[in-house]
């Protein structure tokens, strides 16, 4: 990726108002998740006996209402966002590291290394991901760490494929040849020359992979095999909300809206990034 391509992409992106709005929203949400709970009056496990299952905007300072145990919904949702985002980020990071190194090595080395490496990816790809994640939680216990490992264990596959494709193409470029002639070892070439030039697609797919990770984690937490009470995740908040939705619909609406907003923004941003870096005909 040449410098000018970056600049073109950045310009195209900055002009896309919707994408910029999404980016700004995400930043705001992330900030609220990190700093919000400390700025608000209530703690996430604090029970307010006088305002159990209260709708939003009622007295008591509970801006978005409370759940059936009297805990402030806004704070819990922000906490849930923190947990979900945290797990997703960590898992995506893991996927990134594994996927990029795997794919870059396979694409650059070609031949048998490539064939073997990608065969492994193909085989894993064919396995039903959700179910193995579930097995992992059964085996290793439920909780954030297991979820993280489980998501990361499957998330790197797509990244590896993309990166491998890019590396295959990159291999033919002149500067790679120059590096080889200059006597650089394979590992050095991969880390110093191949990987930095893959950053574009990597960023795109990382941005698109995050909402996937959030969704998997929320899915599991919703079913009860992910993040456990009293720890809050958007998933189990939604589950609680679903149980109470007839009498207290805000319990479902608030975390659901938060989740959908985050996922939508990431998806949209990722799409726009992808279009900016490689304009097809959308």
């Amino acid at each position: 990726m040449t410098g000018s391509l970056w600049r073109e992409a950045r310009d195209a992106l900055l002009h896309d108002r919707l994408a910029m709005t999404c980016a700004v929203l995400l930043v705001l949400l992330a900030l609220s998740a990190i700093a919000g709970p400390s700025l608000l009056d209530y703690r996430e496990d604090q029970i307010d006996w006088s305002h159990v299952a209260a709708p939003p905007f009622e007295a008591g300072g509970h801006w978005l209402g409370t759940d059936r145990l009297g805990r402030d919904l806004l704070v819990r949702t922000l906490y849930g966002l923190r947990v979900s985002l945290g797990i997703a980020l960590a898992a995506t990071l893991v996927s990134l590291v594994i996927g990029v190194s795997w794919g870059a090595t396979a694409g650059y080395c070609r031949g048998r290394v490539d064939a073997l490496a990608m065969r492994f990816v193909d085989v894993l790809y064919a396995l039903p991901q959700v179910f193995f994640v579930i097995i992992l939680t059964v085996v290793f216990g439920r909780g954030p760490l297991t979820i993280l490992a489980a998501i990361g264990a499957f998330g790197w596959l797509t990244m590896a494929r993309i990166v491998r494709g890019q590396a295959l193409a990159l291999r033919e470029r002149d500067f790679i040849e120059a590096a080889v002639v200059g006597g650089a070892g394979t590992a050095r070439i991969i880390t110093r020359h191949v990987v930095p030039n893959l950053l574009g697609p990597v960023i795109v797919y990382a941005t698109l992979g995050l909402p996937q990770a959030i969704l998997v984690e929320s899915f599991l937490s919703f079913l009860g095999i992910g993040v456990q009470e009293p720890l809050a995740s958007l998933g189990n908040l939604i589950a609680d909300g679903a149980a109470e939705m007839e009498t207290a619909p805000w319990m479902l609406a608030v975390p659901a809206a938060c989740l959908v907003l985050v996922v939508f923004c990431f998806n949209f941003l990722g799409d726009s990034l992808r279009d900016a870096l490689d304009p097809g005909d959308r």
Partner: protein, 312 residues
């Protein structure tokens, strides 16, 4: 082109995958720290030993695996550790028809809605119809099943009272309506997007222009020349689609209280019921592999160039 050789090749290719799933599931299960009886109230050691012997848990790993596989081949998935009165096989058999009906209905609905929606959006490119359909599509893929399902239940079940939100009587369509709709919605969105992109690309192909140049009416060009080619990516997507439907069915069955396999799987996961979970995973995996196979065959049937041995 679909030849016997092609079908056989694909079938043979599927077997190792299935074997791998079984092996992996087994391995993971047996690697678990602690055993399935840990959560019982404190058992005296002799009773625990007896229980473990009864379930064969004291035998070496490869012997256990051998016994398990032999059992599998005879259709025996072992006993459920938690539901003592039932074997896993029985639990699967009771839940499978429900889950299959749910899944198949959802996929058919998704195709029936998604393909036309995406095609119309492509044909009306840039106009209001296109933008509306695509806006819905983006929303659809951003809203996960476990949000859609409760929302649908809330709106159509509770507020409007049109459809029931729980219970399952075999054959009653209204019982199925909400679960199937909830399951199908994210899929409709994805398929619509896929179809639109695919059709737009096909319409740019030179042979479409050539078909028009022959004087064929536009309707024929779209229906018999463009659409079959545009359907290919959608058929390819059948595999991942099945995976997402299967995953979604876990949510939908739990939420709407449907007596399908999904609910058993979730219960098994919550109870750490190893044999149940393993059995379920294997059946689900087999279903997915079968569907992938069918999709492969459909693809080869649609595109005669596939399946032909090509010299590199």
């Amino acid at each position: 082109m679909v030849t016997i050789a092609f079908v056989l090749r694909r079938l043979l290719g599927a077997i190792p995958t299935l074997a791998l799933v079984v092996a992996l599931a087994f391995l993971l299960m047996r690697l678990a720290p602690g055993g399935p009886f840990d959560e019982e109230q404190a058992l005296p050691p002799e009773i625990r030993a007896n229980l473990e012997a009864a379930y064969g848990l004291d035998l070496p790993m490869h012997v256990q695996f051998g016994r398990y596989v032999r059992g599998l081949l005879q259709g025996d998935f072992g006993p459920s550790f938690k539901f003592r009165d039932f074997t896993v096989g029985e639990l699967i058999a009771s839940g499978l028809p429900v889950s299959l009906a749910l899944g198949v209905a959802a996929m058919l609905l998704a195709l029936a809605l998604g393909v036309p929606a995406g095609s119309l959006a492509a044909l009306a490119r840039g106009q209001a119809l296109d933008r509306t359909v695509m806006a819905f599509a983006v929303a659809g893929i951003s809203i996960p099943v476990f949000v859609v399902a409760p929302l649908l239940a809330l709106v159509f079940g509770v507020w409007l009272g049109w459809l029931p939100v729980a219970g399952w009587e075999p054959g009653r369509i209204s019982d199925m309506a909400l679960p199937v709709a909830a399951l199908a919605l994210p899929l409709v969105a994805f398929i619509a997007r896929l179809m639109r992109g695919s059709l737009l690309e096909v319409l740019r192909a030179p042979w479409i222009r050539a078909a028009r140049a022959r004087g064929l009416p536009e309707r024929t060009v779209i229906l018999r020349h463009a659409l079959p080619a545009a359907l290919l990516p959608v058929v390819s997507y059948a595999g991942p689609a099945a995976a997402s439907v299967l995953a979604g069915s876990l949510v939908v069955e739990t939420l709407f209280g449907l007596p399908g396999m999904g609910r058993h799987l979730v219960q098994g996961a919550l109870n750490r019921d190893y044999t149940l979970v393993m059995g379920m995973v294997i059946v689900y995996a087999a279903l997915m592999i079968a569907l992938n196979l069918a999709a492969d065959l459909a693809y080869a049937w649609l595109d005669p160039r596939i399946g032909v041995e090509r010299r590199r």
